[in-house]
Amino acid sequence: MLTRNRTVFTQLGTDAIEKGLADPQLSAFYESMMSSSGLVSEKLREHMPYLSLCSDKIDNLTPPPIFYVGRRSSQRILFGEEWAMQHDEELRTPDPELEHASAEAYRYALEEQPYYGYARTRLNVGGKILDIAFERLIVALRPTPNSDRRFCAYFGVIQDLQQL
């Protein structure tokens, strides 16, 4: 069972990025997406390896399903290659409690504005209990100006990771 006595999910707001308090690569991604008004452009290319992408299908309990996990993304580092490469079912993070705790950030990014926050929690990944701290930015993007499609781009930065 997971122990949740150290769990923190805090929204810091994108002001923190603009004040220079966020990870430099995450900040570069944020500035790049803001400069293109949330539209996909060539600027996205350099950030793709660090991103996870998911749809805009959300409910109160779960974030949207993932369809793309960048080769250097924090989710691939955390959950492994095998997890990232599976495609027989909807792709979701393997910890249901993490899913539930993350859902609100995706709703905020889709319905209001980009979400930037900090989280510390314990996860059960393949039977290993991990204590993890990470910052995360979630931005809703459109593939083209006239598209009725939107999707979420997740940029996570693992700050601390320890196996208990």
């Binding site: 996909v40 793709m48 998911c54 805009d56 399903p65 369809f67 793309y68 909807e90 792709l91 593939p143």
Partner: protein, 77 residues
């Protein structure tokens, strides 16, 4: 090759067509049907840096097919 008048040419599948080509054609058809063509193009051009999926090696094409399978599951349900 002479086609039967009762056989639609669009339904003809050449005997040397590889199974992965069929899978790719099926996925593309589903992508178009669910209005996800822009997403297909975005992944292809930004991540794989090609304009046509046939420019990908067989191994990379399989990886791309996996992403598209997830794309359909993520948006179409």
């Amino acid at each position: 090759m002479q086609m039967s008048p009762y056989f639609k040419s669009a339904e003809y599948v050449h005997e040397h067509v590889q199974p992965e080509d069929r899978e790719l054609a099926t996925l593309k058809s589903e992508v178009d049907k669910h209005n996800l063509t822009e997403m297909w193009d975005m992944i292809l051009t930004l991540d794989y840096e090609v304009n046509n999926v046939r420019e990908l090696s067989r191994e990379t094409r399989e990886e791309f097919c996996g992403i598209v399978s997830l794309l359909l599951k993520a948006f179409s349900k």
